[in-house]
């Protein structure tokens, strides 16, 4: 489903690469943590997978899309394969919950009739069926992240990328979001979570890929967060 072959990414010609000769493979239906401290290269990996960046060298294949060969006009179609949530939620603050989730369907031209069915179903899945009229700024951090999850999943993508999804949440909300991600994974979506939340990683016993200074230093099934030192 996701394959990186000898991928390197440098932002400058002479500086240290953000990612250095990284290779990994994630199968369909897996739940994977990518962990590492700030500056380890985790965010670069997410940007490469979203095709916001292209690698300096190496090959990335996601759901049969070879990202190096992907033409600019094909990028939107590719991105519809990936749901994405961020630490800062990135919701449209001037719109309500329903409009934020429906927005993801509008931009890929889903008919209105279908949107009216899909959005409430997705809000129910993330536990916010009654909040559909609320403005996002009226919601707690945990609720905002649930809306972001609903938006990421409403188009039914085969892959979900979560970039520090619990970074702005308290422990209780963090766990609720992680339980939701686990449930989404159980339903068949491949879930990749970039985080440095040691407690959650160690408790969930999933595959853990540890990145340090742009290099994968460990990749273990039912792994743990390894301290850099």
């Amino acid at each position: 489903m996701i394959t990186l072959e000898n991928v390197s990414k440098s932002y400058t010609n002479d500086g240290m690469p953000a990612l250095n000769n990284v290779s990994l493979h994630i199968d369909k239906g897996e739940f994977v943590f990518i962990v590492g401290d700030s500056g380890s290269g985790k965010s670069t990996m997410i940007k490469l997978l979203l095709r916001e960046l292209t690698p300096t060298s190496g090959r990335i294949i996601v759901n049969n899309f070879d990202l190096a060969k992907l033409r600019r006009r094909k990028i939107p179609k590719y991105r519809r394969n990936i749901g994405v949530v961020f630490q800062d939620f990135r919701l449209l603050k001037d719109r309500n919950v329903y409009e934020n989730v429906a927005f993801a369907q509008r931009v890929i031209e889903v008919p209105t009739r279908q949107i009216k069915k899909n959005v409430p179903a997705m809000l129910s899945l993330v536990g916010l069926p009654e909040k559909y009229r609320s403005k996002t700024k009226e919601l707690s951090g945990g609720e905002q992240q649930r809306v972001a999850l609903a938006r990421a999943l409403v188009n039914n993508p085969p892959i979900l990328l979560a970039d520090e999804p619990t970074g702005n949440l308290d422990p209780r909300n963090s766990w609720e979001i992680m339980k939701l991600l686990e449930e989404i994974n159980r339903r068949g979506t491949t879930v990749v979570v970039v985080t440095h939340n040691r407690e959650i990683v160690n408790a969930m016993r999933k595959r853990v890929i540890t990145v340090k200074k742009g290099i994968i230093v460990s990749d273990e099934e039912k792994g743990e967060y390894i301290d850099e030192d």
Binding site: P76, K77, R90, P111, N155
Partner: protein
């Protein structure tokens, strides 16, 4: 594009105006200021040009005929002159009409002593009016070659002044349009810079969700067009009232100028100004939005 998407896009464009009120007001004010300046300038130039045209139509070349000329030859000369492209109209003035006009203009009650007599016998003539007064020399040269014409009266000075003034007006118009354009671009680039800051996040989210450039761009372009229309309508209304009041005031207070300065009616001015201003407004709004969105599409 599906109909539901088009309706959504249009609604989004409309809602965006209210979502970003400060940006919308700044854009409307910028476009309105540019079009107001354009409207005022256009009205002034059109009226000056109109007055010059009126003055030009009063400039005539007069030709007198040989004494032994036949009526048939006069008719023939008249047809030859009328067929020339620079000629607007030709009026035949008989000796009797010339004498009547002279008496009215210069003699008044003293004309009684000339009863039964026409001192202007043999001074029948053609008064030739030109479409373009700058072609007067060309016409006079031609008339000099025509058999049967004894004398040609014309004023080179008047024709030259009007021609040169017309040319000067064209240069000044071009210069002012250039300055207006530069000012407009400066104002719009500043407004667009503000728009970029407002839009950055929204465009980024749309792109990450998988929206095509077309879908991302469309609501912003519709918003730009709507802002352009509003931005054009406001100064049009303002210029209309200002213009109407000025021509009424000027014709009442400065009646002495009526022979010198001819005003076009508001209807004549606005039959051109409305479509041009709306087109400019839409163009500026569209262009401003296009530049704003383009900067962020490469995500």
């Amino acid at each position: 594009m599906k109909i539901s998407t088009f309706v959504f896009t249009f609604k989004q464009g409309f809602k965006n105006i209210f979502r970003n009120k400060i940006f919308s007001l700044a854009t409307i004010a910028t476009i309105a200021a540019c079009i107001f300046l354009f409207g005022v300038f256009y009205s002034v130039v059109e009226n000056v040009r109109y007055s010059i045209e009126k003055a030009e139509t009063n400039v005539a070349v007069t030709v007198f005929f040989d004494e032994d000329i036949t009526e048939a030859r006069i008719q023939e000369i008249g047809d030859m002159i009328r067929s020339r492209p620079e000629v607007a109209s030709v009026e035949f003035v008989s000796a009797a009409e010339a004498w009547e006009t002279f008496k009215l203009d210069y003699l008044g009650e003293y004309a009684d002593g000339y009863e039964g007599d026409n001192p202007l016998e043999g001074s029948e003539n053609f008064e030739i009016y030109l479409r373009d007064v700058s072609k007067q020399t060309e016409l006079v040269n031609y008339l000099g070659t025509v058999q049967g014409i004894r004398e040609i009266n014309h004023s080179d000075v008047t024709a030259n002044i009007l021609t040169q003034f017309n040319r000067l007006l064209s240069y000044v118009s071009l210069g002012i349009i250039g300055i207006l354009l530069a000012v407009s671009l400066f104002l719009i680039s500043n407004t667009v810079a503000m728009g970029i800051a407002v839009r950055r996040e929204e465009i980024g989210i749309m792109k990450l969700i998988g929206a095509t450039d077309f879908v991302v761009r469309s609501p912003f372009l519709i918003e730009g067009i709507l802002l352009g229309i509003i931005g054009a309508a406001i100064p049009l209304v303002a210029v209309y009232f200002i213009y109407n009041n000025i021509i009424i005031y000027a014709s009442q207070q400065f009646a002495i100028l009526n022979d010198l300065m001819q005003f076009k009616t508001a209807r004549e001015i606005f039959s051109v100004l409305i479509p041009v201003a709306i087109f400019l407004g839409i163009g500026l709004g569209f262009l401003g939005s296009l530049i704003t969105v383009r900067k962020h599409l490469r995500v």
